[in-house]
Amino acid sequence: MSDLILLAAVGFLSASQVLQKLGAQRRLHGTTGTRQWVLALFSPELVGAAVAIVIGTLLWLYVLYEMEVSRAFPFLSLGSVVVVAVSRLFLGEHVSLHRWAGVLLITVGITLVAQS
């Protein structure tokens, strides 16, 4: 059960990043002045991003309560891989082999940092 909740947490947190990127691209890019910026924060993309990050964080906190950190972190670090994969699939970004290699090293690194 915790595993499923953990996957859901990673899903919500990754979705929030994609929504933040879409919001930045569609609503924040080219804005001038604070007023416009603040208005953009209330666009559907960025409100959705905020909701997703809150749900993801709450699920993550629940998982941390139930599960060993050293077990939970590798999943969270997979978030980097998921975010890069969705950037490629849904945002049409080009991801070079170099970038993939860097992301994989980071994922392994985060897993090690969480080991006691």
């Binding site: 990043q17 994609v18 933040q20 990127k21 919001g23 930045a24 691209q25 924040l28 890019h29 960025l46 980097s80 975010v83 890069v84 950037s87 490629r88 945002l91 970004e93 080009h94 991801v95 070079s96 170099h98 970038r99 290699a101 860097g102 992301v103 994989l104 090293l105 980071i106 994922t107 392994v108 690194g109 985060i110 897993t111 090690l112 940092v113 969480a114 080991q115 006691s116």
Partner: protein, 137 residues
């Protein structure tokens, strides 16, 4: 703005986002830890409340730093592709590790395995930073 000052602003925003989120995490940890200790040690009196002053300041300050880091992150996303910028956020694991093992209020133990992990993260981030990061918007 000239391309070079645009580039400079992008780096400053990315660095602020990473540093502020790390400082935020560390302050929240210190605040919550000391809140827990004072709550155990003290009876609920006014003197106790004033003793909570500092831990509360850390907790709220930490949350504030975290919130500002999120705004800086949005400004980063205006400038860079997500798949380029996101891996840089992992640098906060490195900063939090250094802070948690060196800040006198925390003093968590460093282990060779964890240190190796932070080094791997650094190598990974250097690899990503050498890929093409100009925003395609």
């Amino acid at each position: 703005m000239t391309p070079s000052s645009q580039r400079f602003l992008g780096i400053v925003l990315l660095a602020s986002s990473i540093v502020l989120s790390s400082v935020g995490q560390l302050c929240m940890k210190v605040g919550m830890q000391e809140l827990k200790q004072s709550a155990v040690a003290l009876a609920p009196t006014w003197t106790a409340l004033s003793a909570l002053h500092e831990p509360l300041l850390f907790t709220v300050g930490g949350l504030l730093a975290y919130a500002i880091s999120m705004l800086a992150w949005l400004a980063v996303l205006v400038r860079y592709p997500l798949s380029y910028a996101y891996p840089f956020l992992s640098l906060s694991y490195v900063l939090v590790y250094i802070g948690a093992t060196h800040w006198s209020r925390l003093m968590e133990t460093a282990t060779p395995l964890r240190t190796a992990g932070t080094l791997l993260i650094l190598v990974g981030v250097v690899l990503v930073s050498r890929t093409e990061g100009r925003a395609a918007i």
